[in-house]
């Protein structure tokens, strides 16, 4: 069995900023070195790497630059925001199976400048599935998410007044986190309501930050984890998910477009786990856009369909609420590193070192992007 056989034992992050000096390779190497130091392992101990298909630093460059050992397993996980939990989970599966022993997953991005947005690189002729939407002026992921948010809010009678509370709750967490981009920037309900629109119903504050930085995590099997420096975050369950008739970001060709790939991931996660949603103490839901938090709360079984907006507005995701969510400030208010920022916060919650620590955490959930092929990790302290 895979359950609890591996653990995340090291986390590392560079500074986060609108514009950092080094290259993406340099940032990646710094984050990996810090994660290995955190774990108490040497670069030469590493024999497995996992990354994103969108990662620009190839594994051989990382391996020879950091001075890793000879690698016996390396993999990539697809689709940006959907990839993080998949990359970690794939390496963990390989470690549990004995194919390798010490694994690292990293993500490095220089995204502070507007010209580096993925959508800004759209070409004159589109060959992939985006040929069915981008020529009609629906170009950015925010526009695509807006289509689902508009429909959801219509079906369930939800308002922007309620949507505001996703961003407001996360900003409160950011105020506690000295490393959060928005730590000292206040956000009021009125500011939210007055903000400029990006793609209605989404306004500026419903969109994630764009930042430079890198994050890395280190994994080993459970028996070795117990001898290392940090409280291990055991990987209790892992799944990826891709629903029927899926289309990346524009997933509206299936029978019910409001049933996302997260539903697939969630079902397989809970099938493996010793617990259910009621036992989870804290969650990090992928939040490139704030409605994804609603969609994930429902897909993972924390709220009935159509009730997540009121759950958030009532304080359910704030400190002391039923399920604290995105407790570092998340991608809306801490930093956006394609979801690895959420994975290391889920680890900190298991360790007891979050700046918004939930008491007595046993189960800590982290998910990847609701609107792409995705994944999730259920971490456990035991």
């Amino acid at each position: 069995m895979f359950k609890d056989q591996t653990a995340i034992v090291g986390i590392g992050q560079t500074p986060f900023a609108k514009s950092l000096p080094g290259s993406e390779l340099e940032l990646a190497c710094q984050a990996i070195q810090l994660a290995l130091e955190d774990a108490g392992l040497k670069p030469s101990d590493v024999d497995a790497l996992g990354s994103f298909t969108m990662e620009h630093t190839p594994e051989f460059e990382v391996a020879r630059t950091v001075g890793l050992g000879e690698l016996t397993y390396f993999c990539q996980s697809p689709w940006g925001g959907g990839a993080g939990c998949g990359a970690v989970g794939q390496v963990a599966v390989a470690l549990a199976a004995g194919v390798a022993n010490v694994g690292v997953v990293w993500r490095s991005r220089k995204r502070g400048a507007r010209s580096t947005r993925v959508w800004a690189g759209v070409q004159e002729r589109i060959t992939d599935h985006w040929k069915w939407s981008r020529p009609s002026g629906l170009v950015r992921p925010a526009d695509e998410c807006a289509m689902f948010a508009q429909r959801y809010m219509h079906e369930y009678g939800v308002t922007r007044e309620q949507l505001a509370h996703v961003a407001l709750a996360q900003r409160e967490y950011a105020h506690k986190n000295p490393l959060a981009f928005m730590q000292s920037r206040s956000l009021t309900h009125q500011q939210y309501m007055d903000a400029r629109m990006i793609a209605d119903p989404l306004c500026l504050y419903d969109n994630c930050l764009e930042t430079d930085g890198a994050i890395a995590v280190v994994m080993v099997r459970a028996d070795r984890a117990k001898d290392l420096r940090q409280q291990p975050a055991f990987i209790h369950a892992f799944s990826q998910g891709l629903n029927r008739q899926h289309q990346v970001n524009t997933d509206w060709h299936g029978a019910n477009p409001l049933r996302s790939s997260s539903c697939v991931t969630a079902a397989n996660l809970w099938r493996q786990a010793d617990c259910g949603p009621n036992d989870v103490d804290v969650a990090q839901f992928y939040d490139a856009f704030s409605p994804l938090v609603w969609f994930s709360l429902e897909a993972y079984g924390f709220c009935e369909p159509g009730t997540a907006a009121q759950f958030v507005a009532d304080g359910g995701t704030r400190m002391g609420g039923r399920l604290p969510v995105n407790t570092s400030g998340g991608s809306l208010s801490e930093v956006y590193l394609h979801g690895l920022n959420l994975i290391i916060e889920a680890v900190r919650q298991v360790r007891g070192t979050s700046t918004a620590q939930v008491p007595d955490v046993e189960y800590s959930l982290v998910t990847a992007c609701d609107s792409t092929p995705n994944g999730a990790l259920l971490l456990r302290r035991k």
Partner: protein
């Protein structure tokens, strides 16, 4: 960043008939000749019965709004020039599982500043086409009174 509206590559044999039809102001989707299931976007195999045989069915062009949004800057330069515009995800009359994106268009083919009176989820639509290049017209949606 490109200065033009990004257009579809139309020479892929899987979907070339769709783009050829747009030049005739026809909206077409694949229909499996084995089990009659519609599919869109075009693909080589029927996901219901795995048949490789299909016909192109010409749709009536009638549809309803499934959802919509109004993108605001920052956008590609060509789309910033078209502001304000609305993008609609339309559910076609022949099959509620077939949804097609298009600009909200006026009866005379404009995209910019189209009168949004009556724009809501469930509103009735009629397809229209706007030619962007010799090989391609892009479908859009006109609100039906």
């Amino acid at each position: 960043m490109i200065d033009t509206i990004p257009l579809p590559f139309t020479a892929d044999p899987i979907d070339a008939p769709f783009w050829e039809a747009t030049l005739r102001s026809q909206l077409v989707i694949q229909q499996c000749t084995g089990c009659q299931t519609h599919r869109f976007p075009p693909r080589p195999m029927c996901p219901q019965c795995q048949s490789l045989e299909h016909r192109w069915r010409v749709l009536s062009g009638n549809a309803t709004v499934w959802s919509y949004t109004k993108p605001q800057p920052p956008l590609l330069p060509a789309f910033e020039q078209l502001l304000p515009y609305v993008v609609i995800l339309a559910e076609v009359a022949e099959d509620p599982a077939i949804r097609i994106i298009g600009h909200l268009m006026s009866k005379d083919g404009a995209i910019t500043g189209v009168n949004e009176a009556g724009l809501k989820i469930g509103a009735k639509l009629r397809v229209a086409f706007r030619q962007h290049a010799p090989d391609v017209a892009i479908p859009g949606w006109v609100l039906v009174d």
